[in-house]
């Protein structure tokens, strides 16, 4: 077992948080409140010393770059939100942020999520090399590699049909929409599986810390 005081504190606080799994208790409450308090103080200090001072105070007051008066004024206007009377002033910096980000992200989102994705789906409807590989070496893996791209294309088309609400989902159109739902369900299932994996990983991380760093059993 370690003699490092920091590891002991971390281990005991981990156990305090884990105790909530049994039921709510004072140890859990203590660890929770400690975490909230320390986090708040940490982030206040971090933002002052890593954002406010290097990005605003130093350029404006040390280097004398007067252009930085504009972000200072916008920042003060944003803080007016805390007071009922001049709260309306905060709308201007907020509008500035929303407008800037909307304009900035519009092209990049369009390029990344629409153009590049659609192009990748369209230009590879049939992957000839994957089929050649399948016929040369028939097997489960080569078969799934060969059908991967057609499956993606069918999934995209039927998924889009499901989200096409201007026509009633009946007949052939309804069948395609239902196929789209199946694709969506499989995607949600895969996503949920990954989420379970992530949560178990975090538990493994904590237990590994307790067994390795604290108790030194492994």
């Amino acid at each position: 077992m370690t003699t490092d005081i920091g590891t002991w504190i971390a281990a005991l606080l981990t156990l305090c948080i884990f105790s909530f799994l049994y039921r709510d208790n004072p140890f859990y409450k203590f660890a929770e409140h400690l975490f909230v308090g320390i986090s708040a103080a940490y982030w206040v200090c971090y933002y002052i010393y890593n954002i406010l001072i290097p990005n605003l105070y130093n350029p404006l007051f040390i280097q004398g770059q007067l252009l930085f008066i504009i972000p200072l004024i916008l920042g003060v206007m944003m803080l007016m939100r805390l007071f009922p009377q001049p709260a309306w002033m905060s709308r201007f910096p907020l509008a500035f942020i929303v407008g800037t980000y909307a304009g900035y992200n519009f092209i990049t989102y369009l390029q990344t999520y629409a153009i590049d994705q659609v192009r990748a789906t369209m230009v590879r409807v049939v992957d000839v090399s994957a089929w050649q590989e399948f016929f040369a070496h028939p097997g489960v893996v080569s078969f799934f590699n060969a059908i991967a791209i057609p499956v993606v294309v069918v999934g995209v088309i039927t998924g889009l049909i499901y989200f096409f609400f201007s026509r009633e989902h009946k007949g052939v159109f309804g069948g395609l929409a239902r196929t789209g739902v199946w694709f969506l369900m499989i995607a949600f299932g895969a996503s949920f599986g990954y989420t379970v994996m992530a949560r178990i990983s975090l538990l493994i991380g904590r237990l590994y810390f307790l067994l390795h760093d604290w108790l030194q059993l492994i």
């Binding site: 990748a120 990983s201 493994i204 492994i218």
Partner: protein, 274 residues
């Protein structure tokens, strides 16, 4: 109360306890299950392997202690991989706490591979702004990051000689647990500057990045602790991710059993009520 009703109202603490056992027993008594390497991880590994010695790799750390079990093993393995291939590392953080975690990983590996801060690797620290920072780096890295993480001017470090913008960077690696992260690097560095980008992400966010991989916008992807273990396997290094894989597999098996078991009794109960 019938057995079906008993299972329908089972105390959830029993399930917590069983999951706890499923994780802790394999950690104490490893089974040694084989780790199969998936294609996205192999692509990640090959992209680094293809770089020549002396190439510049930009590592961006976008994670914090809450996601350390998943992302830190990737960070450790990645840095060792780069040092083993004599690649130069320029690192930044779009998340504040990622900076110190990445610095720890680099310092530990530097001792092992005899690398020197400022000559073989550098940490330029954190900058707020996410996508705007990436965009600014594409124009001018020294202006965006005039100092390193310890507020020392970057001109004094030999590694920064000739580094102006993304043109001087051979590969970008984003280790990300959310936004800003891989998504922003793909949008700006790959989308606008056509740089090669690879990513290491948490398992929760991994499914969102597979379309990028299929479209060639990402050259490789490591997803969660499982992906990190696969990467460690390719490097021939047993790290913390590999150590957790037995526990992960047993816990997953347990959860699959729970799902089948619960559904069986759910439908049995429904049938009896009819």
């Amino acid at each position: 109360m019938s057995i079906v009703e008993r299972f329908e109202t089972i105390d959830r603490r029993i399930i917590f306890f069983l999951i706890f056992l499923a994780v802790i027993v394999p950690l104490l008594f490893p089974i040694g299950l084989k780790i199969e390497v998936s294609e996205p991880v192999r692509m990640f590994y090959n992209t680094i392997e293809e770089l020549e010695a002396g190439s510049f790799v930009l590592i961006s750390a976008e994670y914090d202690p809450s996601t350390m079990p998943e992302v830190y093993p990737m960070n450790e393995a990645l840095v060792k991989h780069c040092f083993a291939k004599d690649l130069k590392i320029v690192s930044i953080g779009l998340w504040p706490q990622g900076v110190s975690l990445n610095q720890t990983a680099m310092e530990q590996a530097a001792g092992q591979y005899g690398k020197e801060y400022g000559a073989d690797f550098i940490n330029l620290g954190y900058k707020a702004g996410g996508i705007v920072v990436i965009s600014a780096m594409g124009e001018d890295i020294p202006t965006t990051f005039p100092q390193d993480y310890a507020l020392r001017p970057i001109e004094q470090y030999g590694i920064m000689e000739g580094i102006e913008n993304f043109d001087n960077i051979d590969l970008i690696v984003s280790l990300s647990a959310g936004d800003p992260g891989v998504r922003e690097w793909v949008m700006i560095a790959q989308g606008r500057y056509r740089k090669d980008v690879i990513g290491g992400v948490t398992a929760v966010s991994a499914p969102a990045f597979y379309p990028f991989l299929d479209a060639g916008q990402l050259k490789g992807l490591i997803g969660g602790m499982k992906g990190a273990a696969e990467y460690e396997t390719l490097l021939g290094q047993i790290g913390t991710a590999s150590a957790g894989m037995d526990a992960q597999s047993v816990a997953h098996g347990m959860i699959i059993f729970f799902i089948i078991f619960a559904n069986f009794f759910y439908f049995l109960g429904k049938r009896r009520k009819r």
